[in-house]
């Protein structure tokens, strides 16, 4: 490999490169997502958020990731 590429950038580049192909294909093959499916997914997200909201976390608790300079 000629340069270091993060997996995220690579995924972005490849997904972007597929867009023209997908555009031509989309008209034939994609289908619209039923609103019920999206509503159900959003409801699940909301339900998880409500559960998290109710859970007390000590103020000093930091997220389970850290940055290194």
């Amino acid at each position: 490999m000629s340069q270091r590429v993060t997996r995220r950038r690579l995924g972005t580049a490849i997904a972007g490169s597929l867009a023209p192909l997908a555009f031509g294909v989309r008209a034939q093959e994609s289908r619209s997502l039923p609103q019920e499916a999206l509503a159900a997914a959003k409801a699940e997200v909301r339900k998880d958020a409500e559960v998290l909201d109710k859970f007390p976390v000590p103020m000093a608790t930091e997220p389970a990731f850290r940055f290194e300079a």
């Binding site: 997996r7 690579l10 597929l18 093959e29 997502l33 997914a41 699940e44 559960v51 998290l52 909201d53």
Partner: protein, 475 residues
């Protein structure tokens, strides 16, 4: 097919390596035989994504040359294997099991594939998976470019996911071992459903470089094999630090059974409610027998349970946010609509709208979970629980249609161990332990971080006393 005894296709890594060194057959003969079998039978289970026969035979020729010159590279030398199709191999399609990426080709190899090549293992193919490793959530087994993963024990049943092809290929003797991956259940579930031994390593022990990212903080790559010992051999080859992986722990793994703690030195935590209320009644005798078998090894069994946390909400939020962020270009471009499963499409879209405050709250609770699990492992050395509470589901029904106790037991026992273990980055070993009807079931052993040697040793001791891992599917 090449004329090798059927027993060869169900031999362990150790057995195959011995036969190769003894020149019972050459690496080329072995590679051709396994490639024949993978190409012929893989489609029967929708397990095969891509055959790599030519590459495999070329590699096998190199291996034969090395063996002839007595250049021995270890137990994996000459042993065929296949890899979940989220691991990239230079110049060949890596589809991630998903239609929008069907023609995707990378120009480099995943670290784990490079390491296995160096160990002399022979890559014979890429294996089918649930599209995008199921990160958006999925409803049906057909959520894959290659169709539903079919179970070699009963093809009307699911192989499990998301490492469907890895589970079924090992179970059906199409490869001696395979690489799978787990974010939340994707090694343990197909391992249990297909009756194979699966190892989910500690987060960061195995490089993710070259693997499709679903959740940066939860993805792990691990082996699926015919025995716990084989998992040790594969982990030895694939583990180790990698500067290309930001999540790499920088630690190595040396399979050292001689230094592992003896069963009698181990305190094993279990929750009776897991088996007596959460488990499918058809599977309970097998789970009870597994606990008795462990007691027979001399371990000290103590009742325990998970500390109280909203594990599923935390894991669901983390994976949703990270997965939707990874696939944001796919979602924004509309190509996400090409995926096979409507729930997956909806889940990925909904994940983009989760506010940062929810993700941060989940990650803060995750810190508390990690600390609580550390405290739990000062009380026990290993946790044991069913890998899944019942056997494989039918492919025609939603994947979450397995047995659910009604009403739900108040005591959650270790029923959330999948979420808890993955959130805390803990290793787990899934061991076949019997059958529910004609379908395999399995138990999982979970340890503190980097406890793999002890889990594998206990798993090997269990498998020395039982033969569930040697059973073969019909036909």
């Amino acid at each position: 097919m090449a004329e090798l005894s059927n027993d060869v296709f169900f031999a362990t890594i150790t057995e195959l390596n011995a036969k190769l060194k003894a020149r019972e057959f050459s690496a080329v003969e072995l590679a051709r035989a396994f490639c024949d079998r993978l190409e012929k039978l893989g489609p029967r289970y929708n397990a095969l994504a891509l055959s790599l026969r030519e590459r495999a035979v070329r590699k096998a020729k190199d291996v034969d040359g090395d063996i002839k010159r007595e250049r021995f590279r270890g137990p994996l030398q000459g042993v065929p294997y296949a890899a979940k199709d989220l691991l990239c191999l230079s110049g060949t399609p890596t589809t991630w099991g998903a239609k929008p990426y069907a023609g995707q080709v990378f120009d480099y190899d995943a670290t784990v594939l490079r390491k296995l090549d160096k160990a002399g293992a022979v890559l014979t193919g890429k294996l089918a998976m649930v599209e995008l490793a199921g990160g958006g959530g999925y409803r049906y087994a057909a959520a894959s470019l290659t169709g539903p993963g079919l179970n070699p024990w009963d093809r009307s049943c699911w192989a499990g996911g998301s490492s469907s092809g890895s589970g079924s290929a090992v179970a059906a003797g199409l490869v001696p071992f395979a690489l799978g991956s787990e974010t939340w259940g994707s090694i343990l579930t197909p391992g249990a459903y297909c009756g194979v031994t699966g190892l989910r390593p500690t987060y960061g022990l195995v490089s993710r470089y070259g693997a499709m990212a679903l959740s940066w903080t939860m993805d792990k790559i691990g082996p699926m094999c015919l025995s716990a010992e084989d998992c040790g051999h594969v982990l030895r080859a694939i583990a180790g630090g990698d500067s290309n992986d930001p999540g790499s722990a920088g630690k190595s793994f040396y399979y050292a059974p001689q230094f592992a703690r003896k069963p009698a030195e181990l305190k094993v935590g279990f929750a009776p409610v897991d088996i007596e209320e959460w488990a499918d009644p058809a599977a309970r005798p097998a789970f009870r027998a597994a606990l008795e078998a462990l007691r027979g090894l001399g371990v000290r069994m103590v009742e325990a349970r998970l500390p109280d946390f909203p594990y599923n909400a935390v894991a669901g939020t983390v994976i949703s946010v990270e997965g939707s962020a990874v696939f944001e270009p796919l979602i924004r471009s509309g190509q996400v609509d090409q995926l096979a499963d409507l729930k997956q499409i909806a889940g990925l879209k909904a994940g983009l709208d989760i506010p940062a405050k929810d993700y941060l709250k989940a990650m803060r609770i995750r810190s508390l979970i990690r600390a609580a699990m550390r405290r739990l492992f000062t009380q026990v050395d290993v946790i044991i629980s069913p890998s899944t509470f019942g056997p494989a589901t039918k492919i025609s029904v939603p994947v979450d249609s397995g047995f659910t106790p009604k009403p739900e037991p108040k005591d959650r026992g270790f029923s959330d161990l999948g979420a808890a273990g993955n959130l805390a980055g803990l290793p787990a070993l899934s061991l076949p332990c019997g059958f529910a009807g004609s379908l395999p079931v399995a138990i999982q052993l979970v340890g503190r971080p980097y406890y793999e040697n002890h889990l594998i040793a206990l798993g090997k001791a269990f498998q020395d006393q039982t033969d569930w891992h040697r059973r073969r599917p019909p036909g």
